[in-house]
């Protein structure tokens, strides 16, 4: 039975008890009321009426006597009427008594009274007759004899009836009282019984409800207190309490499940914290370290004294971080903890990501720091988590890996250059380094000429390195070149410091030596290679030798004409040994042009070479490459316009660079021209004035202005580019050519005298002996390294011959 049913039952029972008691009381009171009514309206008046009978009888007696003793007939007549009325009253009263008789005794008495009354009235009638007949004495005698006798008899009967009635009335009242007492007793009994029963049932039901509830409550409290979620409250009923217990047990089961998971997770986290090779700690209010941290933190920081210490002291002491950084860090931590998580975003950049911490024994550990906020449900940062990783080894490995990567890259760079060319490059570069070393040594004080020479050498070295694609090297060289560039300025931003320059040069030298070492050791390319040292060894095409041998062996020695032909052919073959076409010689710079053009946002130029059938001796190759690397790269950088600009001027997007080789007036002449915008005479003039090379009012011709570009330190580029624009080009070119006994000229190829831009070509004159005519048999052009056929022209003489073509 459920509690609700129990309660309902209790209420119903109470209602039933109250209604039955009430009903009973109503029935009883109704019975009592009827009885009372019967007593008060029947028995009592009847008893009173029976008492009246006696007086009425006396009235009749009196009226009879009045009649008998009436003196005259009138009075008799009157008395007679009175008597008749009294008689009727008496008779009626007796009839009433007859109707109201309760029992046989009373009825018998009434019957007896009636008989007696009949006799009494008969005697009175006789008496009356006597009186009316005038026989007064007779009437009197009859009155005292017969009438009195019947009257006495009737009186006796009536008196008995009265007594009987009174007794009957008393009995009725007694019975009524008895009845009322019984009713009261019964009602009290029933009420007591009902109350007792209800109390019993109520107590029973109450206990059935409260006992299990209090038992449940005490068990629940026990479980809650002991936190022993394996226990359950027993279910022995399926009422509301039972269902509550089932629900409670289900909840406990869930809690047990949840707490088991929580325990497992806590254990997992603990295990992780104990075993992960990472230092993890959390930071609470006031930048203090929370007691739970990963065990490895002790290994990283090499201390067990962690709990309760300040973050700044534990992690950031001995890190060499400046006071300001530390103060920012401290404030940032404090600004985040206990605040909305957006504060972490605001200040995250102040949280240091890597530190170098010095251990007590002087070792330096590199620690990687990773910060994250731990937030609650409201998005508030309750703690900061800091993960520390010791990356000292990692950094070392990474550095080694980078070193290896660089070495591989260098190997790739070297492999792209043939052994001979690389050897030549190294030898040439070392010469520049040695020269710079000497210059620095001999100049304790700054000297413009020396600085210009230092810069030229380094710039050429860089250009050559770039041309061969030796990028790591050129980056190192670039740094040294920058220093010279700063020293070279009219108002130097650097002070001349021999020691620093020396050290910087040593870095370049070390880089070169590294390249040399990799070339020799890693690549096994020791020495100049088979084709190296062209002055002592010659490369010979086996086919040519075999052809020549074959012709010599099979020639008809008897035929002089044939013999001469064979001799000429063999001589030509031998003469061409150790030579290369200008295109072959300049291939490194020509091949580097597309990438150069791309850097400058220009279309890859077309290089048109007209070698005039001449080959050039190998030993001139280094010089030619130095010279034309400058000239051709300058042409691309300064001369050729960007594609859009070219298209607007009706030129093809890609520019053309033309190279012509000829022998003219006993000199080898190499002419370089391009279809770019020409020589920027206006700008050159302006820069000349700006740099104090010329005065503004000087009346200079185009030739005079053009000559300025050969002056050391002249530059026309508005910005220093990675490619050229150092203003060193023509200066250096002239230097190289002069060393070989040649000269450089700039010749205008249009008639636009005085224009801002003029078309021009650069002509490099070199001793004719550097060239061999591949078709000619002319022996006079044979080249002897030690003894140029023609004396070199003075550099100035070439320039002074500038003429308009």
């Amino acid at each position: 039975m459920t509690i609700r049913q129990r309660m309902t039952l209790l209420i119903i029972l109470t209602f039933v008890a109250i209604s039955s008691i009430g009903g009973y009381a109503v029935v009883q009171s109704r019975g009592s009321a009827a009885q009372v009514k019967r007593v008060t309206e029947g028995v009592v008046p009847s008893a009173l009426a029976s008492a009246d009978l006696v007086s009425q009888l006396k009235d009749v007696q009196l009226a009879t006597m009045t009649l008998v003793f009436a003196p005259d007939p009138n009075l008799v007549a009157q008395s007679k009427d009175k008597l008749a009325a009294k008689k009727a009253l008496l008779k009626g009263a007796l009839d009433l008594q007859a109707r109201q008789a309760d029992n046989d005794t009373q009825r018998g008495l009434v019957e007896q009274a009636r008989e007696s009354l009949a006799n009494y009235f008969a005697a009175i009638d006789d008496t009356t007759k006597f009186k009316l007949a005038g026989q007064t004495e007779m009437a009197q005698a009859y009155l005292f004899a017969s009438v009195a006798m019947y009257q006495a008899e009737l009186e006796g009967v009536v008196d008995t009836l009265r007594i009987e009635k009174n007794r009957s009335k008393d009995a009725a009242i007694t019975a009524l009282n008895g009845n009322l007492a019984t009713t009261t007793a019964a009602l009290s009994g029933v009420t007591i019984l009902a109350v007792t029963l209800l109390s019993l049932i109520g107590t029973l039901l109450y206990r059935q409800i409260t006992r299990p509830i209090s038992r449940m409550q005490s068990m629940m409290s026990e479980i809650a207190e002991s936190q022993d979620f394996t226990r359950r409250v027993p279910v022995d009923r399926m009422d509301e309490i039972g269902r509550s217990i089932v629900a409670f047990n289900a909840m406990i089961a869930k809690i047990q499940d949840g707490s088991a998971q929580l325990k497992q997770k806590t254990a997992d986290i603990q295990t992780m914290l104990q075993n992960m090779p990472q230092g993890i700690l959390t930071i609470t209010e006031g930048n203090r370290i929370h007691p739970e941290y990963s065990a490895y933190l002790e290994t990283i920081l090499e201390t067990r004294d962690i709990v309760g210490r300040g973050l700044m002291d534990l992690v950031f002491s001995d890190t060499g971080l400046g006071g300001d950084i530390l103060s920012q860090l401290e404030a940032a931590g404090s600004a985040c903890i206990g605040e909305d998580v957006m504060n972490f975003e605001f200040n995250e950049h102040l949280m240091v990501g890597e530190i170098e911490k010095t251990m007590p024994d002087g070792r330096v550990k590199i620690l990687d720091l990773n910060w994250s906020p731990i937030t609650d449900d409201e998005g508030k940062t309750v703690r900061l988590m800091l993960c520390l990783r010791d990356v000292t080894e990692l950094r070392k490995l990474a550095a080694e890996a980078n070193e290896q990567k660089r070495e591989l890259a260098i190997i790739g760079e070297i492999l792209a250059v043939s052994q001979e060319k690389f050897h030549e490059f190294l030898a040439g570069s070392m010469k520049f380094i040695d020269e710079n070393e000497q210059i620095i040594r001999h100049h304790p004080e700054p000297n413009a000429f020396a600085i210009a020479q230092l810069f030229r050498n380094m710039h050429t070295l860089k250009g050559n390195g770039r041309t061969y694609g030796l990028l790591h090297l050129s980056n190192v060289v670039h740094a040294a070149e920058q220093t010279y560039e700063q020293l070279r300025r009219p108002e130097p931003t650097l002070a001349w410091d021999q020691r620093l320059l020396w050290e910087e040069l040593a870095v370049v030298k070390a880089a070169l030596e590294r390249y040399a070492r990799i070339n020799e050791v890693s690549l096994g390319r020791k020495g100049p290679g088979r084709r190296g040292n062209a002055e002592r060894y010659l490369m010979v095409d086996r086919q040519h030798i075999q052809d020549s041998l074959h012709r010599l062996e099979t020639v008809n020695t008897g035929n002089l004409h044939e013999l001469v032909t064979v001799r000429d052919a063999v001589r030509r073959t031998l003469r061409l040994l150790g030579t290369e076409k200008v295109g072959e010689c300049l291939s490194p710079v020509i091949e580097s042009l597309p990438s150069l053009a791309r850097q400058l946002g220009k279309a890859a130029p077309i290089v048109a070479i007209e070698d005039g059938g001449y080959a050039l001796h190998n030993q001139a190759g280094g010089m030619l490459r130095n010279v034309f690397t400058h000239l051709i790269r300058n042409a691309v950088d300064h001369g050729l316009e960007a594609p859009a600009q070219r298209l607007m001027q009706g030129k093809p997007a890609a520019g053309t660079i033309e190279l012509r080789v000829a022998i003219d007036a006993g000199m080898l002449r190499i002419t370089l021209s391009d279809d770019g915008r020409g020589l920027a005479l206006g700008r050159i003039r302006g820069i000349g004035i700006e740099k104090g090379l010329i005065a503004g009012e000087d009346p200079l011709g185009d030739d005079d202005i053009a000559r300025l570009i050969f002056r050391p330190g002249f530059s026309t580029a508005t910005g220093v580019t990675e490619v050229s624009g150092r203003g060193v080009g023509m200066d250096a070119v002239q230097d190289f050519v002069k060393r070989e006994g040649g000269s450089v000229e700039l010749q205008f190829s249009d008639n636009a005298v005085g224009a801002d831009f003029r078309r021009f070509k650069i002509v490099v004159f070199l001793p004719a002996g550097l060239a061999v005519d591949t078709d000619s048999d002319d022996e006079q052009l044979a080249y002897h390294a030690d003894k140029p056929v023609l004396a070199p022209l003075e550099a100035g003489s070439g320039v002074s011959d500038l003429h308009v073509a």
Binding site: E285, E330, A331, M342, N343, H349, L350
Partner: protein
Amino acid sequence: MARILVVDDSSTVRDEVAGFLTKNGLDVATAVDGKDGLAKVKADAGLKLVVCDVNMPNMDGLTMVEKVRGELGNKTINVIMLTTESSPAMKERGKAAGIKGWIVKPFKGEAVLETFRKLAG
């Protein structure tokens, strides 16, 4: 009418913060100290966000914010403090004045831009 008010006595910080926010399309006004800031908050009902230095002459930042909340009865305007240090006492005072956040100088624009947009929206 602006949406953000930058209050700092240092013109460098003002220029940096206000300049950055303006460059990123936010509507910014500036004030040179707490007094000036209070007057501007009072005068401009369109302000949604106050970015306020702590240490300033005439009236410091925290006092200014307390007056904004108390005298002006403005409980809705968002307040972010710019500071060089952060102490529990300051934070306690800030919390009581309904301050949303603390930015430790130097200020990094990218880190705050999105949140500022939201707070000023």
